[in-house]
Symmetry: D2
Subunit: 397 residues, 4 copies
Amino acid sequence: MTAPILTEAIFTLTTGPVNAYPDVMRALSMPIMYDYDPYFLQHYQHVCQKVHSIMHTQEMPLILHGEPVLGLEAAAASLIGRDDVVLNLVSGVYGAGFGEWARRYCKELLEIRVPYDQVVDATMVEEILRLRPDIGIVCVCHHDTPSGTLNPVVEIGHVVQQHGALFLVDAVSSFGGMPITPAMAHADVFVTGPNKCLGCPPSLSLVAVNHAAWEKIASNPSAPRDSILSLLDWRYAWQCDHPFPFTPSVAEINGLNAALDRYLAEGETQVWARHALTAQACRAGLKAMGLSLWAADEAFASPTATAVNVPPGIDEAQLRATARARFGVVFSAGKGETLGKLTRIGHMGPTAQPMYAVLALAAYGGAVNALSTTQLDIGAGIAAAMAIIGSDRTPVV
Amino acid sequence: MTAPILTEAIFTLTTGPVNAYPDVMRALSMPIMYDYDPYFLQHYQHVCQKVHSIMHTQEMPLILHGEPVLGLEAAAASLIGRDDVVLNLVSGVYGAGFGEWARRYCKELLEIRVPYDQVVDATMVEEILRLRPDIGIVCVCHHDTPSGTLNPVVEIGHVVQQHGALFLVDAVSSFGGMPITPAMAHADVFVTGPNKCLGCPPSLSLVAVNHAAWEKIASNPSAPRDSILSLLDWRYAWQCDHPFPFTPSVAEINGLNAALDRYLAEGETQVWARHALTAQACRAGLKAMGLSLWAADEAFASPTATAVNVPPGIDEAQLRATARARFGVVFSAGKGETLGKLTRIGHMGPTAQPMYAVLALAAYGGAVNALSTTQLDIGAGIAAAMAIIGSDRTPVV
Amino acid sequence: MTAPILTEAIFTLTTGPVNAYPDVMRALSMPIMYDYDPYFLQHYQHVCQKVHSIMHTQEMPLILHGEPVLGLEAAAASLIGRDDVVLNLVSGVYGAGFGEWARRYCKELLEIRVPYDQVVDATMVEEILRLRPDIGIVCVCHHDTPSGTLNPVVEIGHVVQQHGALFLVDAVSSFGGMPITPAMAHADVFVTGPNKCLGCPPSLSLVAVNHAAWEKIASNPSAPRDSILSLLDWRYAWQCDHPFPFTPSVAEINGLNAALDRYLAEGETQVWARHALTAQACRAGLKAMGLSLWAADEAFASPTATAVNVPPGIDEAQLRATARARFGVVFSAGKGETLGKLTRIGHMGPTAQPMYAVLALAAYGGAVNALSTTQLDIGAGIAAAMAIIGSDRTPVV
Amino acid sequence: MTAPILTEAIFTLTTGPVNAYPDVMRALSMPIMYDYDPYFLQHYQHVCQKVHSIMHTQEMPLILHGEPVLGLEAAAASLIGRDDVVLNLVSGVYGAGFGEWARRYCKELLEIRVPYDQVVDATMVEEILRLRPDIGIVCVCHHDTPSGTLNPVVEIGHVVQQHGALFLVDAVSSFGGMPITPAMAHADVFVTGPNKCLGCPPSLSLVAVNHAAWEKIASNPSAPRDSILSLLDWRYAWQCDHPFPFTPSVAEINGLNAALDRYLAEGETQVWARHALTAQACRAGLKAMGLSLWAADEAFASPTATAVNVPPGIDEAQLRATARARFGVVFSAGKGETLGKLTRIGHMGPTAQPMYAVLALAAYGGAVNALSTTQLDIGAGIAAAMAIIGSDRTPVV
């Protein structure tokens, strides 16, 4: 067993796992409590109530004890029954991936697919819902992270609601970093996690299910029960006098609690504003260096991640390796269809601070320049970013 | 959102979640790394190799990213196919629960059921295997924690191996605290977790699958793929050049790494010895106080937990509440059929220290005496425990 | 550089350094702030205000940045001038040691010395003050830890106040664990630290100086200035618009802050009660085992530490080594004149929990029995302790 | 007791207290050990041996339990006797401050004083030593942090050695961040601390004393004994069979141990290189923005801190407040004579990473631009810094 030869990165500016806030890290190291100790039972209920408070739902959201891929698979398995016609909206790798789960459980799967640098238009959804009134469930990924793009879930949700279908939204990497809640999206099932914009490590899912969706799930014979994939099992587990279906992740609950306290203390508006400002500064800088965003239209680029096109002639993996080796900065690669074509710079939780945009620009530009004969004007990039940051009137801290 | 009114327990002597070792707690608070950062990829491989090293398997064991109930459900779902005749051995609540999963996936489920204060005899298994040569899979819970009893998996495994069936062992709360490994048990699939005797928080599973079981799983059309329940998805994920099926629980991996380092440094023999000594001292003390063990025969009481019968006339919940309120000590309740009948005292990981037996005896005896007119002789109990501890020649630390 | 061959102790039941509370340990790992950052300036002021609040003084107490030996030396150097006649009260090693500092700074040093298992009577002080009206300063150690005995500072303070002298009290290992404050003791200078009953690591002193003492110090030409020994330098440093004389111990301030929050949340009465109960249980047990306390009269044995006489024929160092090796329990040795004669069991901060008395009795008794032919009745000892603990009506937690 | 209204800074780029390394922060939260526990005694000796190893001395250096101002005052008090003629070299606030201590203990104090943007030339020292052969001790501050300048201690040390005087060097904020050791400086007493370039919180001093200096101290009747100011008391305390004069700062020792492990693992050459590169990049950037260094000659600007002149018409305090409020970056003010005239950017320990120079430039430039009508060209500054960083061939991590 040899010791690791590589050292840790200095700056992790990825789209997840992201750095955790310092108080979250400390909370993870609290003594481990027995899950049925009255203190923990009460603590767990308080944590759920704080999740409730930040998600602004009527029903109590669930905490599931696996990273958000569990929340998504469980939501698909629970909501979608053998008789359902499902419309899945695909503008990226995650949207497409969700379709595989939906297909597994439904009677018929329909999909709207757009190029991965585009997003799905609400009018397209409206049209297909008109043509296929039997569509009972519509699914969408809000922020398709491998593309850094945001589907217009507010508009789509309105259309789906008018149609009377159930709306399942994957908001894993947008919730907590921008103005989006289950109610805003008219979502019946809304899946997110603490490991992106809330600044926790990956290991938990947060799932909001409204009354209509609970009715559907409860009447779905194929909805998992006695399973890690079950939403039903956890429905009332937040109540301190209800048993847990299985042992909750005690340390991660402590971390989540600290993240929620911080989010509530800072205030969602302020949290969202620093995510937006960081993204805006980052993009102004990239463009000033002559680089282009992956998103066909910046209007739907996410405030929580910036996907930038790799300049021609440069190997994307080598670009990230260079940024890490020379500057200590780690970025995220693309994924699936976007792998090798773009690099992703995260603006999530603790890294949603405008000055990290400056760091990102310097490291990304520096890495490009190290690998290319054409030299980017890093100074111009950072000047553009600083003009955005400097003109903001909100104190950073 | 009101603050918790209850305070934390002083001593958590439960059967899980158990206290984590201090170095595990600190490791949980390490900076969160990007899962595809080369440092983390290498780190993850090293952690898997250490798991390999402590499980003494030929194949590389899997880390699954949910507490062991995930490992068990995934093992059932992966190994058991629609054509399989399965023999499930039931000597307690967990064994019975596993039967529900087995039934979900198999063609026919057979069970040997014994009273929950008994264990399954290998000759009974031999007999039924002779009668039903079509049994292809045998499942057993090694330490059925709600009863504190150990099925004789070494003997049963031998019988199953002779028969040619696959053997699936739940060793969640025994592995790491006593001499048991997949090879010792002749297990083809062996499920455990770091959250019991290894002294980590609950959130991960460890699953050892041998060559024969991988063959069976790979050829099982109903084995989950693209699912949190999939073993196949994670088969090669330990290799640092293989992608993760989804994001691993970075913080928990860091905690596990610290637990493995400690286990390897202390040495399994020494770790097992202190679990055994703690249990032995605890039982000598309980008996000297006139209390009785749940296990019909102490020979099959687990070294990792002691289940003690509640004295007549005392409410078990009130007993634990008294131990907590007066003495700051938290014990585990029974579960299902054993709930209310017994109390469980954990000897796992950091609490597998003989002096915790003394604490447990004092708190348990003190709580009984507070609720009863007949008074236990606590002094006699502790004297008996100390006689065991004091006669041991292994230094505690 | 070889790795340590010894392992950590399991239970540290010493008279200091004591275990820190878990929240104190976590607070120590907070990000380090710049001392002149406005956040830290405000934080430091808040911490001082909390110290103020728990010491119940009129003037703001000082935090000095070294363990309490610094506070004591600084107090001696600051208060005692070349023209002062000082009366030092000696009932133990620490009282005697303070005399050395007092002698260094004063014109004439008088001492009342009693055997180290006795304490100084207030009438003796009254007598000598009557005989020597020129005595301007009286010094005493409240809890002389190496003897585990408490001088009657309330009565002595009253006498000193009547006389008109200044009264300097070393309350390092009593404050925070029993009902004693500067006002109760009529103390003009009162030195303590967070590293005993408040449950912090050693590294800071807390010094309360009242108006009269500040006047004396300010007019003392030999009082240190521009020195780590200066009280004057730090007088106003608690105010967030005053500079620090030198860099404060940022991490330790964070730890202290957590300890103060805990102390205030639990409430001093409750904290003191659990110290007292732990000591009472410990002593009842020792006596029931046939052991004797060092203190000539249990009435002046401290609730924060129990000094027990080593049974004849046993080597004290070997006794502690045995307790550690066999039972994982670490006790404190005596010091100076008491070294080898007694063992000290701490009841301070997190170990001031009655059940630690049980642990201590078992380990101490077990170690004696391992080294002696006459065998102590450990059961009787613990039964006696449990009778005390069990009859208490205050919930432990 | 109101809650703090200010939030924590995002980036602390000060000259101390500096951020601690993450592993140092975790080490601070280890369980607190009894100082006389054999494990701690051995641990303390190991830590001392590691200090020895990084200081490259013959004699074992001392750890003193207070931040380096204690080390300096103790060194002055111990080394300088009533019969000594002392030459103190003053090129800044700290050098001048040391003179006050020297004056307190010596017979006659001579000083060479240069403007605070200059450093002392070795030939000046040579000259005065020739004129005053009775000078027995020469004192200098290597890196006078409030000026960010380095006195040429190697050359001065050579001259002092030739003369036969003892040489006392304050290397608090240079050691560990650049090639300087007691031997390189021909220092007889060399004072530093873990809280600057080693990346620990402030609370300890490291003092190297060579044989000649120990002889002098041992024969100095006014050298403190039985005092926190004593070097003699701690001379042999590193040996695990020697008592501590008073309780060491257990948590801080654990933090130091982690810092030493990291320093040794990374290697001093690599550590020094990243300090130098960060400073070089920072300065290139400042100059490219049209700003000027405080140091009259960049050749003697320290690699561990950059002191930059405040542009005319700008209030320095307001400048730092703006950098904090808008960009989340905290810098250090000047001190004493340099207060208000310059801002200090630290490159110490964890912030000695070139990319922090980029952050510093952006924040400093942004703050100037926010307060001034003349606008700095931030882009040009960062381009210049990146040209330095990008041309370096050493991997950052």
